[in-house]
């Protein structure tokens, strides 16, 4: 190899075009490291032992990544991995001055601006889909989901509910008779089919909910807080409203869609979990408030149909939650604020025109539905 430096290469080069120099060359087909001389003629000639290995036209030469202090270039016409490495600053400067399109492949400022622009466009489109597309899709898809599938969803959820809440069913005979009478009255008034099942579960939590596929659960804690049959009837009507509107299935589609899209949006910023959670709860909350409002409308209509006032329902809810406005941000709440719901029910208050839904005795049996001795 030492023969090489006594070669006539540099002299030749300076004679022909005034510049030349040494470089390291890899031809892209083997890992052999060649010390070569460069000759800046009308093309860049790469010479080893006076044998020209390659001639690259300056317009085809592109920069490749290199450590600082080294210029590494490749050529479009050469094998993809052919590399020429120049460590001499003067030679590097000479080559750079001749190659007009050296940095064509390197993404520059405009490239970054384009990435930012496209990302913003993608963000806007995802947000638009979340706000308008997903609710629409949920509305359109829900009627297409077969009842049998909904029932399965309900079965799954039921299994989990029973695991979470202990699953003790309250059904002593007089209490169950009163409960069935109440449910049937509302169901017939609302025009729902008789496949709906409703159950009282023993739990101190004052709540009630509906599962997809036609299951309504009332916790005994709610019955304990109720003062009369109309209060419970209103709540039941509200839950039947959810069933009638198939809100469970719609929510499932909606939540699945938004979670997926928002996760996609925020991707990989470490620590973005909190952000995803926050924006998701904001958006789904507004959607679920709307569903709750609709279920309330349904309950109001059902109670009017029975000739009873919806106001007791609002009173029961207010008794359970208290005034909510002080405690939470209203845009984060999944339900409308209880005081607003009570105000709405009060506006719809009418003097009763129909018979009481339960007799005093039946009401007492319903209150005692969880007591094990069925004699009152």
């Amino acid at each position: 190899m030492s023969l090489f430096s006594t070669d006539s290469g540099p002299q030749n080069a300076s004679a022909s075009s005034g510049a030349g120099g040494f470089a390291v060359y890899f031809d892209g087909t083997s890992s052999r490291r060649r010390l070569v001389t460069l000759e800046f003629n009308d093309r860049l000639e790469i010479t080893e032992y006076e044998h020209t290995l390659a001639a690259w036209s300056y317009a085809d030469i592109r920069r490749a990544d290199s450590p600082s202090g080294t210029l590494r270039v490749t050529c479009l016409a050469a094998p993809a991995l052919a590399r020429l490495e120049i460590r001499d600053a003067a030679v590097a400067a000479e080559l750079i001055s001749r190659c007009t399109q050296l940095d064509e492949n390197i993404p520059g400022r405009r490239g970054v601006a384009r990435i930012v622009g496209w990302s913003l466009a993608a963000t806007v489109s995802i947000v638009a889909v979340v706000l308008f597309g997903v609710p629409l899709a949920a509305d359109r898809l829900t009627p297409l989901v077969p009842q049998s599938f909904e029932r399965r969803l309900g079965d799954v959820a039921e299994g989990q509910v029973k695991t979470l809440f202990g699953g003790k069913v309250c059904d002593n005979a007089p209490g169950q008779a009163a409960f069935t009478k109440l449910v049937n009255a509302i169901r017939e008034s609302a025009g729902l089919d008789p496949s709906i099942q409703s159950v009282v579960l023993s739990s101190p939590i004052p709540n009630a909910f509906a599962l997809p596929g036609g299951k309504v659960y009332v916790f005994s804690g709610l019955l304990a807080k109720a003062d009369n049959a109309d209060e419970v009837a209103g709540i039941l009507a509200h839950e039947l409203g959810h069933l009638k509107h198939r809100d469970g299935t719609r929510n499932l589609i909606y939540n699945g869609g938004t979670s997926f899209l928002i996760g996609l949006l925020f991707g990989d910023i470490t620590g973005s979990g909190a952000l995803i959670f926050a924006s998701r709860s904001l958006i789904t909350a507004s959607y679920s408030r709307e569903a709750e409002q609709n279920a309330d409308t349904f309950a109001i209509d059902a109670m009017h149909g029975l000739g009873r006032s919806p106001k007791p329902m609002g009173e029961l809810m207010f008794r359970v939650t208290g005034k909510e406005g002080d405690r939470n941000l209203s845009i984060l709440a999944s339900h409308p604020l209880t005081e607003d719901r009570l105000a709405r029910m009060s506006r719809e208050d009418r003097p009763p025109s129909g018979p009481p839904l339960l007799t005093a005795g039946e009401w007492a049996s319903l209150k005692a539905i969880c007591s094990s001795d069925s004699k009152i």
Binding site: D65, P67, T270, L329
Partner: protein, 377 residues
């Protein structure tokens, strides 16, 4: 033209060295973190590519620097295709889970095993992508083998890991590494892995005993984890072969512990700054709102102030990004430098005249790894 004879004739005494500037890397990741925020995360493909380009092209082996030829556009396309595949898989997973739940509540957990398998597949294919984008002396590395075969092996070993409470880890690592390295090539030079599980076990068994204690005694954890990573790196590097080329690492057990403490220290500092910022915002918003101070700081009013929530959200973002930068500087760049510093290469002359071989692999694996959150570098 006399100075031209500066071209080095002999490899420098240290066969592996790193020439990257730390300040440059910091600017790279800091700018990248900012752009990631503006682009709500989409910039991650470009940032990951730039980080790899920096690390690869400043790593010199036998005097010649490596090169990373992957491009962010490939990662983006890989991610989009992976998404198109993962979405139906998630749907199928959801339906299958539904059936399982109907049979018995919470019975769908075994289906997570499927995603473990999928994740391992992604890890293999992502490694393949990175390897085929790694070039040294004008010849690329490449990889054969099957991602699913690897995933099956990894899953079976994973099962044994659970059964033995992790004690079998060295044997798992050795078996999986043998598979990966046997299918790795540099040109026509086939890779191999000669690390013996028993050696790994002998150097690290006491860490296995300390791990449960470190789980409860927090200050012990960085020591145990740092020592484990050092032992693992040393054992892994020392086992790697490419034809006649042999790597060796002399990393000490304590070599990485400092890095983890520095990261923890920075996180504490950043957390203090974040809390101070929150306090400042609260005071500022309170004085602007005009309400009496003690009235404003009553918890109900406090948590309902929208400007305060927005300021807190912005602060949180800055906090998260700063942690991101710290992690990348210490746990990517500094770790990389320390690992390289511990490394020597023997019989590099075996790689002096290797013929180029191997096809480029697509970035689908990287896309899966991104979608399933199992990404490495």
């Amino acid at each position: 033209m006399n100075q031209i004879s500066l071209v080095p004739r002999h490899p420098p005494p240290l066969p592996v060295s790193f020439s990257g500037d730390r300040g440059e890397f910091f600017r790279l990741v800091a700018r990248g973190a900012g752009l990631e925020l503006i682009t709500v995360g989409f910039y991650r493909f470009w940032l990951a590519t730039d980080i790899r380009r920096h690390l690869w092209s400043n790593t010199h082996i036998d005097g010649d620097a490596a090169e990373y030829t992957g491009r962010a556009r490939e990662l983006l396309i890989g991610f989009l295709i992976a998404l198109a595949i993962i979405v139906p898989v998630y749907l199928a997973y959801f339906l299958a889970g539904l059936e399982a739940e109907r049979y018995k509540a919470f019975a769908s957990f075994p289906l997570l095993a499927f995603f473990y398998l999928f994740g391992q597949f992604a890890i293999y294919r992502a490694r393949r992508y990175r390897l085929t984008r790694t070039v040294w002396r004008g010849v690329r590395f490449w990889m054969s083998g099957s991602g699913w075969a690897y995933a099956a092996q990894a899953a079976l070993w994973g099962l044994l890991m659970i059964l033995t409470l992790g004690l079998i880890l060295p044997w798992r690592a050795a078996a999986l590494e043998r598979y990966k390295m046997r299918h790795s090539y540099y040109g026509d030079l086939q890779g191999g892995f000669e690390g013996r599980a028993w050696e790994f076990f002998k150097r690290g068994w006491w860490l296995w005993l300390l791990a449960p204690i470190a789980f409860y005694v927090f200050p012990l954890a960085p020591f145990v984890y740092g020592a484990f990573k050092a032992v693992e790196w040393r054992w892994w590097l020392s086992g790697i072969r490419f034809g006649g080329v042999r790597l060796e690492s002399t990393m000490r057990r304590g070599a990485l512990i400092g890095l983890y403490w520095k990261v923890i220290g920075w996180i504490v500092v950043l957390a203090v700054v974040f809390v101070a910022y929150l306090a400042l915002c609260a005071v500022l918003v309170a004085s602007m709102s005009g309400a009496a101070f003690n009235q404003f700081f009553a918890p109900q009013v406090f948590s309902r102030s929208v400007p305060l929530l927005i300021l807190a959200g912005l602060g949180y973002l800055g906090f998260a990004l700063a942690i991101n930068v710290v992690m990348r500087v210490y746990l990517l760049r500094d770790l990389w430098v320390r690992v390289l510093a511990s490394m020597t290469v023997h019989h590099i002359e075996a790689a002096a005249n290797v013929s180029a071989r191997g096809e480029l692999a697509n970035a689908l694996g990287e896309g899966f790894a991104d979608g399933l959150d199992v990404a490495g570098f």
